[in-house]
């Protein structure tokens, strides 16, 4: 079993993992970071999206051992204690979530997108979400949330 070392949400983590353990499984089962959700088995839904060394990735689409040495941020690492990240706050303000299951992946994708595109058009936001499926909201309020969240992030 490969031994890996990585930083998750600013904390060192070391573990032995089975070769076939997915990163999403590792985060959920071994680190108890259950905010990363698994909604599919074909890398389509985006519920498992995390940030790996500054790039968002679907954690169900890679093995845990491939993250050896990486710095990972999951949804649990975004807020500052009880103070929501501006993107999280915008999702709440705009009712950008209902059941909350797609939400961690949506928010992680949105934060990364807003960093790269601080002043996006609605069309750009909708395209940026092509890897994230939400069944509850109909996306309209997610688009509103990301527009507002991006604005708040640019300060």
């Amino acid at each position: 079993m490969p031994a890996i070392k990585l930083r998750v949400n600013g904390r060192e983590a070391a573990a032995e993992v089975d070769e076939r353990t997915l990163l999403s499984t590792f985060l959920r089962e071994q680190l108890d970071l259950t905010g990363t959700h698994v909604g599919c088995d074909t890398s389509q839904c985006g519920a498992c999206t995390v940030d790996i060394d500054g790039i968002t990735a679907k954690s169900c689409a890679m093995f845990a051992w491939q993250a050896d040495g990486a710095a990972i941020t999951t949804i649990e690492g975004l807020a500052d204690g009880d103070k929501l990240h501006p993107m999280q706050a915008a999702f709440r303000e705009h009712h950008g979530l209902q059941c909350g299951f797609c939400t961690p992946g949506m928010v992680m994708t949105a934060v990364d997108f807003a960093k790269r595109n601080p002043d996006p058009s609605d069309d750009e936001i909708r395209h940026a979400l092509e890897g994230n499926i939400c069944r509850c909201t109909g996306y309209h309020f997610i688009v509103d949330a990301i527009r507002t969240g991006a604005k708040a992030m640019r300060g």
């Binding site: 949804i75 807020a79 209902q98 909350g100 299951f101 979400l129 909201t137 109909g138």
Partner: protein
């Protein structure tokens, strides 16, 4: 202090209390539950649509290290478990004979009848080991001919799914006055006929189904955590019908549920099977479906084919409507499956339009496919599609203006209250006004320019409308109980169930608003059979209608009891006491005490009247709905079609709904928009497809096209609030399903409008690029 009254917080877009935990990854969904000693179950599912099981050899699987037990239908049968019954409200054929209900065991006993049916269960130390062991089980099948399509299954000589259901007919059904309908048809100037397919779809909550079962040998009690929307009713069925234990022996709970839309309403086999497994191995057992299994084993929805006939006079006046439907049930009855194509699709026939007579008739048909059960709307989207699609079709073939036809035939306000020809009690509303307000939102003035812009780019633009009428449903009773705690918080438990709709906010909003308490002091519980004596769960847009009414009723009971306490302390009678601004007081005196004082007094025997016990404010009441409510509204859509590729893009969407009183507009918007997106998905993208041998061709998110953000247009939602209903305490009419009731006809009408110039009359859903492209070519040929 800001002015608060009984209406306080009603109508306010209070932001959601549940969001903090969901946004920070602290939600607790079924797969987040970890118990000491927990084992993991995996299901072996049939690869055949119809086959006899001749032998199962699980010996190799049992020997794999880490496997704790393997069981099959043979053991299940020997253990004497019961079957899962259907609760369909329609149970009789037209001739009075009983519906044909085949035995639905949680696991196949000796024959499988759809791909995905469970044939064996493995329980192991880890999920990986359990899944691996599935491959080591050898099942010998003798395949039988299968049938999946509705028309094929209903045809003479079709393979029979069940011997007890000749012709694969589970149930037939008729509603309305057939003689009057025939008379109206005979007198009308035109009869227009349209065959419609309501495509088979599935709910795809992003959280797959799952459950965790525990068993305590000493007490013989089961605990079942279940990603379910209907905890109480399903507790009764799982305990009494399947496990054959008293329902008090099963504690049924739902943690946070990641979407449901009907697909998590019913009783499924897997939770029952893992209860057995937990008892067998004496350890808690978890099972989580993966997405591929979800497509195979979640209940599907819709799947109806209908012939719709509209009779109208030469001035466009509607006279009669007749709909003949075949509805697919899959291989079993489902929890309420047979109701959807029969009773469920009949009640809103004809929509908000005036008819002399309507007749609806349907047959529910067994096929070798996964069982069907309610999917958001369950029958009302079908009915709405039928009437609003045939209106546009009739306008096109007879040369009417569709807008004029609608305006002419909408039931005028003066006719309300009325009973529709289908027997629905429509108490209030103003359909023409709601329609007018929708049209006023749609920027008709700018349409010509948008159309010209589209044309300049080689695109076709179209506009479509649907005026819908729907009705609530689901369990008629709901219980709400409050508990004033020592820490100053107030517990509120309700038996209705949110799977994303925000009950934790909306119900707390009602209670806090009524009692003048801080909403953050309300501690909310749902989905727990120990928390409320009864509960109607989720379904039929009943949450606010029945659950919200229960909360208000309980709040009122607390105030009434509070008045008794205040009266005792003021040495007067409670009829002299008023409650306002958070205080109980006796007008004309200086006697006043806050609700907080009254809550404190309620726990102090010295401050209570004789015979009143401490804790007397901890009250639970049950609200029972008498007659179902009638949400209604109008949808309008604009689409752009690329005639070269057949790609449809919905560009604009407008809705005005009459949901009666709106408690929290932001949450109501969310319900409408989510429903509209599902309706657009059904109209343009989604379809569950089986091949003729019964293999599922759309078994993953790569094959089943879910709407994504760029498939859905921005939406404009408005409300008509001038007609609150008197059928419940809040005046609400139900908001949960309307979106996907109105959207499919609005979208298909818009696409057909765009393609009118080519002579395209109708395209069956989903309007995929290929179908649209072919329809254009066929119409031109």
């Amino acid at each position: 202090m800001s002015k608060i009254s009984e209406k306080n917080l009603i109508g306010e877009s209070v932001r959601r209390r549940e969001d903090f935990r969901f946004l920070t990854g602290r939600g607790r969904y079924i797969d987040d539950i970890k118990l000491d000693g927990m084992a993991h179950a995996a299901m072996l599912r049939s690869p055949h649509a119809h086959a006899d099981i001749t032998k199962i050899d699980a010996s190799a699987a049992s020997e794999i290290e880490g496997v704790l037990c393997v069981f099959t239908g043979a053991e299940w049968k020997a253990a004497g478990y019961g079957t899962i019954p259907t609760k369909s409200a329609v149970r009789k054929f037209k001739d009075g004979s009983d519906l044909k209900e085949p035995p639905h065991h949680a696991i196949a006993i000796d024959r499988v009848r759809h791909v995905g049916e469970i044939v064996a269960v493995v329980v192991a130390e880890t999920r990986d080991i359990a899944k691996e062991a599935l491959d080591a089980i050898e099942v010998y099948y003798a395949p039988l001919p299968a049938v999946t399509g509705l028309k094929q299954a209903a045809a003479e000589g079709a393979p029979q799914v069940w011997d007890l259901a000749p012709g694969n007919v589970c149930l037939d059904f008729g509603l309305g006055n057939e003689e009057a309908q025939k008379k109206a048809f005979a007198e009308a100037d035109h009869i227009v006929t349209l065959d419609l397919v309501n495509n088979r779809v599935t709910a795809v909550p992003i959280e797959p189904r799952g459950a965790v079962a525990g068993y305590d040998a000493a007490s013989e009690n089961f605990t079942l955590w279940n990603s379910s929307q209907n905890i109480h009713a399903n507790r009764d069925t799982i305990a009494e019908a399947a496990l054959k234990i008293d329902k008090s022996k099963l504690h049924h709970l739902a943690p946070d549920v990641g979407g449901g839309f009907g697909a998590k309403n019913g009783v499924y086999p897997e939770p029952i099977l893992i209860c057995h497994a937990a008892r067998l191995i004496g350890r808690p057992v978890k099972w989580i479906n993966d997405r591929a299994e979800s497509f195979l084993s979640d209940t599907h929805g819709r799947d109806q084919v209908s012939t719709v006939q509209l009779a109208l006079d030469k001035d466009g006046q509607f006279r009669g409507l007749r709909t003949e439907t075949l509805g697919n049930l899959g291989a079993y009855c489902g929890t309420v499956g047979p109701f959807t194509p029969t009773g469920g699709s009949s009640r809103t026939q004809g929509g908000p339009y005036k008819f002399d007579a309507i007749y609806y008739t349907a047959k529910a048909i067994f096929t070798n496919t996964a069982p069907l059960d309610p999917y958001r709307g369950a029958g009302r989207p079908e009915a709405s599609y039928q009437i609003d699609r045939i209106i546009d079709y009739a306008a096109d073939v007879l040369g009417f203006d569709a807008d004029e036809l609608r305006r002419k035939n909408l039931v005028p306000k003066a006719m309300l209250p009325m009973k529709t020809p289908m027997g629905l009690d429509v108490d209030c509303g103003d359909f023409p006004e709601v329609y007018k307000r929708t049209m006023a939102m749609t920027d008709r003035a700018g349409y010509a320019k948008r159309k010209a812009d589209s044309e300049a780019r080689g695109m076709k633009r179209g506009f479509g409308v649907c005026a819908y009428l729907e009705c609530t449903g689901g369990g008629p009773k709901e219980h709400a109980v409050v508990n004033f705690r020592d820490d100053g918080k107030v517990g509120l438990a309700v038996g209705s169930h949110s799977t994303g709709m925000g009950h934790e906010t909306a119900f707390s909003q009602l209670l806090a608003g009524h009692l003048w308490l801080a909403i953050d002091d309300v501690v909310f519980t749902q989905g727990d059979t120990d928390a409320t004596p009864l509960g109607g769960g989720h379904g039929g847009s009943r949450g606010m209608e029945v659950g919200g009414s229960a909360v208000l009723q309980t709040s009122r009971a607390v105030v009434a009891k509070g008045k008794e306490i205040a009266a005792h302390l003021f040495e007067t009678t409670s009829d002299k006491i008023e409650f306002e601004d958070g205080s109980f007081f006796e007008p004309g005196t200086n006697h006043t005490m806050t609700i907080r004082d009254v809550i404190d007094a309620s726990n102090d025997p010295d401050k209570l009247p004789d015979g009143v016990q401490p804790g007397c404010l901890n009250i639970g009441t049950t609200f029972e709905r008498g007659i179902i409510s009638i949400p209604n509204g109008s949808h309008a859509a604009e689409v752009e079609v690329d005639p070269e590729t057949g790609v449809v893009k919905a560009t604009h969407y407008w809705v005005v709904d009459d949901f009666g009183t709106i408690i929290n507009p932001l949450l109501a918007d969310g319900q409408v928009m989510g429903g509209v997106a599902q309706g657009i998905g059904q109209a343009l993208l989604e379809e569950i497809v089986y091949d003729e041998t019964g293999q599922l061709l759309t078994g993953s998110l790569m094959d089943y096209a879910m709407p994504r953000a760029d498939d859905i247009p921005p939406m404009h939602v408005g409300y008509f609030e001038d007609a609150p209903t008197a059928k419940n305490l809040l005046g609400v009419k139900g908001a949960g399903e309307a979106g996907c009731v109105g959207a499919p006809p609005a979208i298909v009408n818009a696409v057909c409008d765009a393609l009118k110039g080519y002579g395209v009359k109708h395209i069956d859903m989903p309007l995929t690029p290929e179908k649209v492209w072919r329809a254009i070519r066929a119409a031109q040929a």
